[in-house]
Symmetry: none
Subunit: 192 residues, 2 copies
DNA sequence: AGCCTATGAATGAAGG
DNA sequence: CCTTCATTCATAGGCT
């Protein structure tokens, strides 16, 4: 998480211009929205604790209104944020998905999220949208999850052949070291 | 791009041990991936000879699996590599083409600004939320290039005033220009 | 001692 | 929803 020391512009106004190196002649202050830490915190709060994944327009409006207290923001920023966050979470999971998962349907995982589930709070129901499917709010935990879905075709052997992707000898290294145990060096789920 | 004479930890097993010092201000087990020469060679082989530009997830998995023979690597590394490589190739080309392109432009080299596309489409307003797909409505929103625009800019976007936005303790945010850190009374719960 | 550059990583914004 | 483009931050390592 916490990427080094990235402080995204305290207030939605000036750019950081950390004086990194080459002088950007660009006068225009970053065309794109740079969320403040507070905004990010709230967004994540909504995402993980409230289970908000794809807010409706009305929700976006409300969220946006709130976030305006912490910096400049528009509705589309909120919209994109949720879209991106969701997409990337899933994408990363896909990357790490085992190419040849041996275990399918592991009997039981114990579900260490017991405590996590407690996150659910008042949250009420706003607009009755989707009734919020409240996924597991895993935030720091790696995406290990693994087994969960049957992973359809991806499991076992990959049949998709895009042509020998490289002429060099391609031998399937059988299960190298899938550091499922070393959760620390896993995928990190970088947020923020 | 030219000095590729790097011979990093050839061995895939020896981790760089990110946490070299326990003194890390921010624990960021980050030592970023440093591709080995073999990995780079294969990646370039794929890129230039095989024409792989944006591999699919399955391709990434396979490539990653292969590259593991030459060093530690994860799916996201492959993903980023292709993304970056492609982007930078294009970036360079854009620079070069600027020199002798039919379009007369303010020549002026040395400018890092590649000419922001800046397409303003003047959305007018995205009124009918419910009826319209929000995607469209947000997309057409003009990019209010910040500058002196007041935070409320948005050009007559949000007019609705929702009393409560997430049904949680929604205090009528009264200009909290002071310490934002304490304003966690948002949902009445703190995060992290 | 450090700058500089190439490049890995992250993410906002769109497109489809 | 998923993929792609862009811009930017951060950093490893070579060069001066």
């Amino acid at each position: 998480m916490e990427p080094q020391t990235q402080q995204p512009t305290e207030d939605g106004g000036s750019n950081k211009a950390a004086g990194s190196s080459a002088n950007m002649l660009c006068r225009r202050s970053s065309t794109r929205w740079t969320p403040t830490t507070d905004q990010i915190r709230i967004l994540k709060e909504l995402y993980y604790n409230k289970g908000v994944r794809s807010p409706t327009v009305e929700q976006i409006q409300r969220i946006c209104l709130q976030l305006k207290r912490y910096g400049k923001i528009e509705g589309k920023n909120v919209f994109y944020w949720f879209g991106n966050h969701k997409a990337r979470e899933r994408q990363k999971k896909r990357f790490t998905s085992d190419v040849h998962v041996p275990m399918q349907r592991s009997g039981l995982v114990g579900n260490g999220n017991a405590g996590v589930i407690a996150f659910n709070r008042q949250m009420g129901n706003y607009g009755g949208y989707g009734s919020m499917n409240m996924e597991k709010s895993f935030r720091d935990c790696s995406i290990s999850a693994g087994g969960g879905t049957s992973s359809t075709g991806v499991g076992g052997s990959i049949s998709h052949n895009f042509g020998s992707w490289v002429s060099c000898s391609v031998d399937p290294y059988s299960s190298s070291s899938y550091t499922t145990s070393t959760s620390t060096t896993f995928f990190g789920l970088n947020e923020e």
